[in-house]
């Protein structure tokens, strides 16, 4: 329990620091590297909460897939020229103000709803525990209760692949 608290605060600090650095660094490659740190922190939180399968998915798919995709695209954009330009848009103070308002709103929401947070009586872990470990439980639910959304997600990925190729392709006739 003591170790859980320490790990939570360590991962939370990692996530928040890396997230702030992600949105403030000038060099886009540095932004991507800090994004990896934030995503690793989230994967650590998943592990801490017993979602081992999701931690693996987070590392393999997000860090190994999405961030590498970002890095590939960054390589297609001249970074050296990029680094000398303004980082923030003209509406930066307005955006910061909107963010602070949002933090206030959500803070009020959380403090008002604090009583309701122990939302439900937790199901006894034995009820789920007999199914097996985390991956087995996720697989069981994913392929029975959520089979149709699962298939739709595969169609979505197919559409996204085709869309990305069509979008990024050089069309000779239009130059």
């Amino acid at each position: 329990m003591w170790l859980d608290s320490v790990l939570f605060y360590a991962f939370a600090a990692l996530i928040l620091i890396c997230a702030v650095l992600t949105i403030t660094r000038r060099n886009v490659i540095h932004c991507a590297i800090w994004l990896i740190g934030a995503l690793l922190g989230v994967a650590g939180l998943f592990l801490l909460q017993g979602a081992e399968f999701l931690a693996g998915v987070q590392v393999i798919l997000y860090i190994g897939g999405v961030v590498v995709l970002y890095l590939f695209v960054i390589m297609l954009v001249p970074v050296s020229e990029e680094a000398r330009q303004r980082r923030f848009a003209n509406q930066k103070w307005l955006g910061l103000l909107a963010g602070l308002v949002l933090v206030g709103e959500l803070g009020v929401l959380l403090s008002r709803g604090a009583d309701a947070l122990p939302i439900a009586e937790p199901v006894a872990p034995a009820a789920l525990g007999e199914v097996g470990n985390n991956s087995e439980q996720v697989g069981e639910v994913l392929f029975s209760q959520y089979l149709l959304p699962f298939e739709l997600a595969s169609i979505l990925l197919l559409v996204a692949i085709i869309g990305a190729v069509v979008m990024a392709k050089v069309r000779p006739e239009t130059g």
């Binding site: 859980d4 928040l16 949105i23 939180l45 017993g50 999701l54 999405v66 970002y70 639910v141 869309g163």
Partner: protein, 102 residues
């Protein structure tokens, strides 16, 4: 140190979501805006897993898988659009792409 509850995860996820929102609103580079969107989606994932853990129900984790799927699809399409944009306009800055502005 007091034990970590679901509320701790909610506060963390709130802060991460707001950081992502500020990134979307203030940065000029479209690539960094897309990274901020990833941060927002991760804040949602933290929430889903925290509640999944709180009620000992694995459905929330299945939702996270779908969120990650949609995030991957979104990143692929958005970066494809970005490459096309850079080829046509020669810029990746959101405030320089204004030909639809009246």
């Amino acid at each position: 140190m007091f034990p970590v509850t679901t509320a701790h995860y909610l506060v963390l996820s709130t802060l991460l979501l707001v950081i992502g929102t500020i990134g979307v609103l203030t940065r000029r580079n479209i690539i960094v805006i897309l990274m901020s969107i990833e941060l927002i989606l991760n804040a949602v994932n933290i929430n889903l897993v925290a509640f999944s853990n709180a009620v000992q129900n694995v459905n929330g984790q299945v939702f996270v898988i779908f969120v990650i799927t949609v995030a991957a699809a979104e990143a692929a399409v958005a970066l494809g659009i970005l490459i096309a944009l850079f080829r046509n306009k020669g810029t990746v800055h959101a405030d320089e792409v204004d030909i639809l502005r009246w």
